[in-house]
């Protein structure tokens, strides 16, 4: 009986066992952004202890930043103060910072992997729940609160209850139009928003093995939306190639990474399996990420849809989700703001254009993603289609900056949360893949991407 990938990494990082299932865990990499860190920096300053391991921290400004005219000063005074505080704190404590305008700036969960900082076997934290994204590399990565950000700054460690382990296995081939986003929306719709609370998930099986790193990141990113502490995928050649393309890695290091993987006989606390062929393109119809349904379904078919959510979304449960008229499309976020996402969007919309009544924002996940998209000419395709191609940031995923969906408007979004008001007060969100979002932008209605793909 061998250990799981999770157990192997966890046990290597235990500095001290305090009590049964309660450990002091060492953190290899700490990512920092402007919104959840100022109070933590204040904390270490007041304690007079400094930052214990500044070289293991990396900061960027992403949550609050505008996605147009980034070269100009930030207009919102509060956002400007938050970004200025981050700059001052990183300067004072000697932490590397990629602030607005820096060539490496971007959404924290997009830049870490893309710069080769995220590597297998690591423990990674950030004051952001979508830190689970980094689990795609065979890491233990999870979101923390600001008090914990302060703890990591002060000691590079956290006091943690050891979560239980859960394997989600999906084999078989995927249907036309089904992307990594559809797979994770499907899993969440099956398990519910609290279905994996207390667990750390490992995604296993052919579907994940066949995914690229960008696709694995999309899946791991949304692990938190079913309550999981994090999600991870085992290390394989795909992982190794991705990291090797970015930073030099020794064969010894690679052997060590591979030795961490779960085996056939590794025992998980819970195992769930689905069949890849049962998954169709998915969209949500309510105000929680577990309200995913397929595009032929009636709105009322979601088993997690509450009456409160139905009322908020202004939907009729007998109506089909397809053909609902939309107002906005948002393509971006740490879930779907990587280069492969933008390529998929460009491929579908090339030679077509958006419906007149729809506003479409394409927000690349980082300066590097933006530069790459421009190099490949994707920006021209977006502009020709009537899409706005913006500068990097979290943008309309959480609408902390100016990128808000107006009250009552319906937005098909490639982001991760459809909570009430998430994209701005009164906004209504349908979560979808980049393909479904693009198809919907073209027709102006919620649209199954295979309709566009088949006629292509």
């Amino acid at each position: 009986m061998s250990k799981t990938l999770f157990d192997n990494i966890w046990e290597r990082h235990v500095v001290k066992n305090i009590a049964e299932e309660l450990d002091v865990l060492y953190i290899d990499q700490h990512f920092i952004h402007e919104v959840t860190s100022p109070q933590a920096f204040d904390g270490v300053r007041k304690r007079g202890v400094g930052v214990f391991r500044p070289e293991k921290c990396l900061a960027t400004a992403d949550h609050n930043v505008p996605t147009v005219n980034q070269s100009e000063p930030i207009k919102d005074p509060q956002s400007a103060i938050q970004v200025a505080s981050l700059e001052k704190n990183c300067e004072e404590f000697g932490i590397e910072l990629y602030s607005v305008g820096h060539e490496n700036q971007g959404i924290v969960h997009i830049i870490g992997p893309d710069l080769g900082i995220t590597q297998p076997g690591m423990t990674i934290v950030c004051g952001d729940s979508h830190t689970s994204t980094h689990g795609a590399f065979g890491t233990i990565a999870f979101g923390i609160g600001t008090s914990q950000v302060e703890q990591v700054l002060a000691s590079q460690c956290l006091v943690l209850n050891r979560p239980r382990t859960m394997k989600i296995e999906i084999n078989g081939s995927l249907n036309l139009g089904v992307t990594a986003k559809d797979v994770i929306l499907y899993i969440i719709s099956q398990l519910g928003t609290e279905g994996a609370t207390g667990y750390f998930v490992e995604y296993a099986g052919e579907v994940f093995e066949n995914f690229s790193m960008d696709e694995r990141m999309t899946v791991c990113n949304m692990s938190i939306e079913m309550g999981a502490r994090g999600g991870m995928v085992g290390v394989d050649q795909t992982t190794i190639d991705y990291v090797k393309e970015r930073v030099p890695i020794s064969e010894e290091e690679i052997d060590k990474w591979l030795s961490l993987n779960s085996d056939e006989d590794s025992v998980f606390d819970r195992v769930t399996a689905f069949d890849g062929k049962d998954i169709s393109p998915m969209v949500t119809c309510g105000t929680a990420p577990d309200t995913g349904i397929n595009l032929n379904a009636k709105i009322g078919s979601s088993k997690h849809l509450s009456a409160k959510a139905l009322k908020y979304m202004q939907f009729d449960e007998a109506a089909l989700i397809a053909d609902q008229k939309i107002d906005y499309v948002f393509i971006g976020s740490c879930t779907n703001g990587r280069i492969e996402d933008l390529r998929a969007v460009a491929k579908m919309v090339d030679g077509k254009s958006k419906a007149d009544h729809v506003t479409v924002w394409v927000v690349p996940g980082s300066m590097k993603v933006r530069a790459q998209a421009i190099e490949e000419g994707l920006d021209k395709i977006f502009l020709a289609a009537g899409f706005e191609f913006r500068e990097p940031g979290c943008s309309a995923c959480l609408a902390m900056n100016e990128d808000k969906i107006p009250a009552g408007s319906l937005c098909v979004s490639t982001s991760n949360r459809n909570f009430e008001g998430r994209q701005g007060p009164g906004s209504r969100t349908i979560l979808a893949s980049p393909l479904t979002a693009t198809a919907s932008a073209i027709t102006g209605r919620v649209t199954d991407p295979t309709q566009i793909m088949e006629f292509a």
Binding site: T36, G43, I81, G143, G145, T146, T193, L398
Partner: protein, 194 residues
């Protein structure tokens, strides 16, 4: 830690941290004053008018130190601002049948006691708090007991012994970790040597 208070019932499942404190209120660089924006979108209309029908706004709920909420409270974002807003509003105890992991940790780190009870007990408390706003709930951390005398309900709740001690003795987890720096350095040297 002992709390005896009337309660605010929110019989809604999956209350996410975007509802507890919407993102547009996360722009401060300090921890102060978040209480006024607690459940902002549910408490106020778009023009800022108070929604009288929402539980927090009812005069009979004024001064409550206990919040009772549906299953999976605090899901979503890791924002500790949610815990700061709850604490700043004057809430000391939150009762639900399940808490999202990150919120639970944030609550403890801000002196808020998150109590998990089984769904039947939760329903009884939600019912009585809704019907009889003057009903008082008693919570005693030391004995890990939750009581609702008016319906003769006594329920034991679980809590990690470490977290319990931290709350009871006012131990600061961060100080604990700072004091561990020597051991942490030993760990680091061991890893480098491997």
């Amino acid at each position: 830690m002992k709390v005896k208070s009337i309660a605010i019932p929110l019989p809604i499942d999956n209350i996410d941290t975007d509802q507890i404190i919407p993102a547009r209120f996360l722009k401060q660089v300090d921890k102060k004053g978040y209480g006024k924006n607690l459940f902002y979108n549910w408490r106020f209309n778009e023009d800022g008018d108070v929604k009288e029908s929402f539980e927090l706004n009812k005069p009979e709920r004024k001064g409550a130190e206990i919040l009772v909420a549906g299953n999976n409270f605090g899901c979503g974002s890791s924002r500790e601002h949610a815990a700061w807003a709850i604490a700043d509003y004057g809430i000391k105890v939150v009762i639900s049948s399940q808490f999202a992991d990150i919120f639970k940790g944030n609550a403890f780190n801000n002196g808020i006691l998150p109590i998990e009870v089984n769904p039947t007990v939760l329903q009884s408390i939600l019912d009585i708090a809704s019907k009889e706003p003057e009903c008082r709930i008693e919570v005693d951390l030391k004995s890990q007991k939750l009581k609702v005398p008016s319906i003769e309900l006594v329920s034991h709740f679980d809590i990690s012994p470490f977290k319990k001690e931290c709350l009871l003795k006012g131990v600061d987890e961060t100080e604990y970790l700072i004091n561990l720096r020597n051991e942490i350095e030993v760990y680091e040297r061991k890893v480098v040597a491997e």
